[in-house]
Symmetry: C2
Subunit: 353 residues, 2 copies
């Protein structure tokens, strides 16, 4: 061993999702939006003043926080933006989960939560979801250093009842509760209205899914001005200038085109309804999806085998080989044409096995 | 106090540099390049495939690391990219400075080093620069948890001798030594050739200054494959997708236009020479500048008062009100026309005081 090697911090590296390169691939594995962003975004990028590129971007990302605040009807001091919701949640972990007490999150959840906890040396306990992947609020009554869960859940696509979340908030008035609403634009409701009553609630959103801007890396959090100020102080101590000039312009342009946003979501919801019907016809089961993906299982099919067979046919879905998820596949809602290719394959596959 | 407030981590927030808004301002305060980036960058942004915007960017940033590796003649596994060099250095602090021993850096240095050390709870000791702001290598012989310094130094603009840096490396074979070369494209030489002999050396660079891309947030590190892999593992545990599609395209386009890059640097160096002459004529003193800024002092003028007077005239320079720097102003090299406005003001100011 070289003398300097013991100075290096070692982590088990997180493996990012697969980026298949085949031109004929059907990519239903990373919950991207199958439609491009609003034409207003392309227009904003084409019209970028090149003089802006040489200047540091506004560290307060004002043009973007203003647009987001206006869209949600909250104060600009209630909005924090980051390089995707991953950056926003990582900053929230650093800011709010440093008490030394364990934080709580579900056992079936976004796979990055335990990774951040380990990176920032935050102790954590996972709380098992119920039989139908529902949150059991009483699991969150014990003393803890904070709570986080995605809603709709990833990878189950289940939307939790508002009463359940209120119950968790009522029992956790001494810590910060983060609701990760990355997928909520595809769901029936958000918990944003609860912000009026809970100053310790932080809601996280992203432009990656519903706004078709995964490639631009824009996420945000909404919360009380006190929570947002604490996050901003940490962010300014890490990297003052994170949202680049193109992301500022693209994000604001996306917000400006409400019609396109609504239409795209409705198209995906229509494909989701149609896909549910097809999955049912083929004997698959799932909890009602409220995100842009469906978490499906089949009583007669081995999910791991099916995942591999799909992969060989250049149809990419996501498989989580862990005790509670290994009978399931997470399938992103693509275009109708992409879903038809999937269902054609599945029909044929069922006939073969 | 609310019950949840004690769960929030408090830091002394870093205050980002001033972003003046006056249309007639002369902005010489944040070391931005006065010239726009290569036309190839604008072309790359205009030609962005909008389908890319809806897809997650390549987490390995391959198109960019390949371009950087080719430019420097190193392996692609020797390049790490981040959201500006601030992101790169923050990741390096997390990865390499976690031994618990104090890290060493100069007392007059980039003001973010102590901020990151505090954020990541890394103990540190500052080592006073000599009378002419030179590094005294013997200060770095004691056991430590790592070493970092900027070269050329910020804010002094002084370039350290290669022998001094080799001496520090020779005496620190049990830790990682980071040389922050944010400004080195404006200097006479780089320490990159030392990489062949020192596997524990990490060199950090940025596209913000010499490539006129502060607005796009692109920084990188070059080092041995082992150092780069360790940083990448930490990065993937923090946020897999940080460099967005437009930054990937803009960065690669910038590298492709070597001629423009060289010409722009020569223009700035010519203005720097001319500015040095003018400063000398006006009685200012400075160490030989090797970055795109000059750190000037005047025996008869109060630097703090001059800073305020300049500010009132909408000429923005940087003033660091600390014991060793409060007699100095850091002046970014702008265009010849901008510098003329500065010198016209200074000539008049000297006549008045």
């Amino acid at each position: 061993m070289k003398a300097w090697e013991d100075k290096i911090r070692r982590v088990t590296p997180y493996t990012p999702g697969e980026q298949p390169q085949e031109p004929d691939k059907v990519k239903l594995n990373t919950n991207e939006n199958p439609y491009p962003p609003s034409p207003a975004v392309k227009k904003a990028l084409d019209g970028m003043d090149e003089q802006l590129l040489r200047l540091y971007p506004d560290p307060t990302a004002s043009v973007l926080t203003k647009a987001i605040a206006g869209y949600h009807g909250v104060g600009q001091d209630q909005v924090f933006v980051g390089v995707g919701s991953d950056d926003v949640i990582a900053m929230a972990f650093m800011t709010f989960f440093s008490s030394g007490k364990p934080i709580f999150f579900p056992d079936v959840t976004y796979s990055f939560y335990p990774v951040w906890a380990e990176l920032f040396k935050i102790p954590y306990e996972t709380k098992p979801l119920g039989e139908h992947f529902e949150i059991r609020p009483e699991d969150y009554y014990d003393a803890n250093g904070g709570v986080i869960f995605p809603n709709p859940n990833a990878p189950t696509s289940r939307l939790e009842k508002v009463e359940v979340i209120e119950d968790i908030l009522d029992h956790n008035q001494d810590c910060i509760v983060i609701v990760d609403e990355a997928y909520v634009d595809f769901a029936d409701y958000s918990v944003l209205p609860l912000l009026d009553r809970y100053e310790n609630l932080l809601v996280v959103r992203t432009f990656s899914k519903s706004r078709s801007l995964a490639g631009m890396r824009i996420g945000y959090a909404i919360g009380s001005p006190e929570l947002i100020k604490a996050m901003s102080d940490i962010k300014y101590s890490y990297n003052s200038y994170t949202i680049n000039q193109t992301s500022l312009a693209a994000g604001a342009a996306s917000i400006s085109d409400e019609t396109y946003f609504r239409e795209t979501i409705e198209r995906i919801k229509a494909t989701r309804r149609r896909s549910c019907e097809r999955f049912t016809e083929l004997g698959f089961r799932y909890t009602e999806p409220q995100a842009n993906f469906i978490f499906v299982t089949h009583p007669d099919l081995d999910a791991g085998e099916l995942f591999k067979a799909l992969r060989e046919a250049h149809i990419y879905v996501r498989y989580f080989d862990a005790p509670r998820t290994r009978d399931y596949l997470r399938v992103t809602i693509g275009t109708d044409a992409q879903m038809d290719l999937l269902f054609d394959f599945l029909k044929d596959y069922e006939g073969r096995v």
